[in-house]
Point group: C2
Chain length 204, copies 2
C-alpha cells in the first residue's frame, strides 16, 4: 500500500489526502505531529533530503515529494486530471502559482497566526503586513479567474482546484477576509460539494 | 507561431528559451525589459492577471503562464520529458522544489545583488543573510542528490534539469560560492554540454 508521510494540520498534506479519498486510493498514514521536528531527523532526511511532508512512499520503495507532484502522480489517467495537453499545462500553471504566490503568504500567515504560540508569533509580527498584502494579491488573481470560470483548468474539477483549495478554504485562520472575494467563496462551496470531499480536520 | 512574452535577463524565461531551442520549436519573442514595468500594465495583465513573464501565447489565443508549466507543455511527448509515471512526477517534484525552495532565494539574491541599483539594494540589505542561508540549503539538497545521480529525474536529461539550471548556473551573481558544491558544478557542465544548449545571454 502507498504510505503518506503526513502532518494532519498541513494544507499541503490535506491536498493529497483529499485527492486520494476522491480517487479511492488506499493510503497508510505515517504522522509527523506539528512542531515535533520529526521531519528534520536523519531517519526522515534519508527519505526526503528536503525535510518536508507530504512525502509519498511507493510500494517499490520509491518516493515522490512536493504536494503538486504527488497530486499529479495520483491523478494521471483519472478524472482529476484535465483532458488535453493545454488543460494539463494550465492545471500545472495554477499549481505552480499556488506554491509561489499563494502558499508562502496564506499558508505561512495561517501557521503563525493559528498554529504557533503567541510567543513564537512575536518574532514574526513585522512580516504580517507583507503576508497579507501578497496573500490578498493572490486571492485577487483567483477572484479574477473565477469570475469567468467555474474551475481553474479544463472546465472541470481537477488537481488544480484541490491544490488551491488546500489553504484558501482556511485563509480566515491566517487573518484573510474571504468575503471580499465572492467568486472565490462560491468556488469553495463548489469544491466542497464534490463527491468524496473530506475536511482538513477529518481523520483518515 | 508560438509567442513567448520574455524578459531576457530572467532565468525563468531562459528555461523556456533553452527548452525551445533544444526541441527546435520556433518562438516569436516579445520583450519586456527589466525594470520597465510593462508586465504590470493593463495590456499585459489582460493576458496574465498575475503580471509575470514568462508567458506563452498559443496560436489559438490561449495562454500558459509559469515557467514549470510552460516547460511541461513544450516537453510533452518529447525527449525532454522523462519516461514513465514515476519519473514524470519526480521531474515535477524537482520543479516545484525549484520554485519553492530555490528560486525565491537564489534568483532573488541575484536580482538584487546583480541587476538592481546599489540604491535599491540598500532597502533589501537586511534580507541577504536569509537569502544566502536558504539558497545554500537548496544547493545542499541538490548536491546530495547529484552525488548519487547524473540527472534529477528518470536517469536522463529533462525539464527538471533545465528548471534547476536556470538560476543555479548564475548563482555566483547572487553571491553564492558554487565551488562549495562539487557535484552541482559537475552537473552544470553536463547540462551545458547537451546538444542545442544556449546561454542565458544568447539572443534568440
Amino acid at each position: 500500500m502507498l504510505v503518506l508521510h503526513n502532518m494532519q494540520v498541513s494544507g499541503n498534506c490535506y491536498k493529497v489526502r483529499l485527492a486520494a479519498r476522491q480517487l479511492e486510493i488506499p493510503l497508510l498514514l505515517n504522522e509527523y505531529p506539528f512542531g515535533s521536528g520529526k521531519t528534520r531527523m536523519p531517519e526522515f532526511l534519508a527519505k526526503n533530503p528536503n525535510g518536508r511532508v507530504p512525502l509519498l512512499e511507493l510500494e517499490n520503495g520509491g518516493f515522490v515529494a512536493e504536494s503538486g507532484a504527488i497530486l499529479f502522480y495520483l491523478a494521471e489517467g483519472t478524472a482529476l486530471m484535465p483532458d488535453g495537453k493545454l488543460a494539463r499545462a494550465q492545471a500545472l500553471q495554477w499549481m505552480f502559482f499556488e506554491q509561489y504566490d499563494h502558499e508562502p503568504f496564506i499558508a505561512v500567515a495561517r501557521r503563525w497566526l493559528h498554529s504557533e504560540s503567541k510567543q513564537a508569533l512575536a518574532a514574526k509580527q513585522h512580516l504580517i503586513p507583507e503576508w497579507h498584502a501578497k496573500g490578498n494579491a493572490a486571492l485577487g488573481v483567483m477572484e479574477k479567474h473565477l469570475s469567468k470560470h467555474d474551475w481553474f483548468a479544463g472546465n472541470q474539477y481537477s488537481i488544480a482546484d484541490i491544490s488551491l483549495y488546500g489553504y484558501t478554504h482556511a485563509a480566515d485562520e491566517g487573518g484573510f477576509e474571504l468575503s471580499d472575494y465572492p467568486a472565490v467563496c462560491t468556488w469553495l462551496k463548489r469544491v466542497a460539494a464534490q463527491r468524496g470531499h473530506v475536511a482538513l480536520s477529518e481523520s483518515w
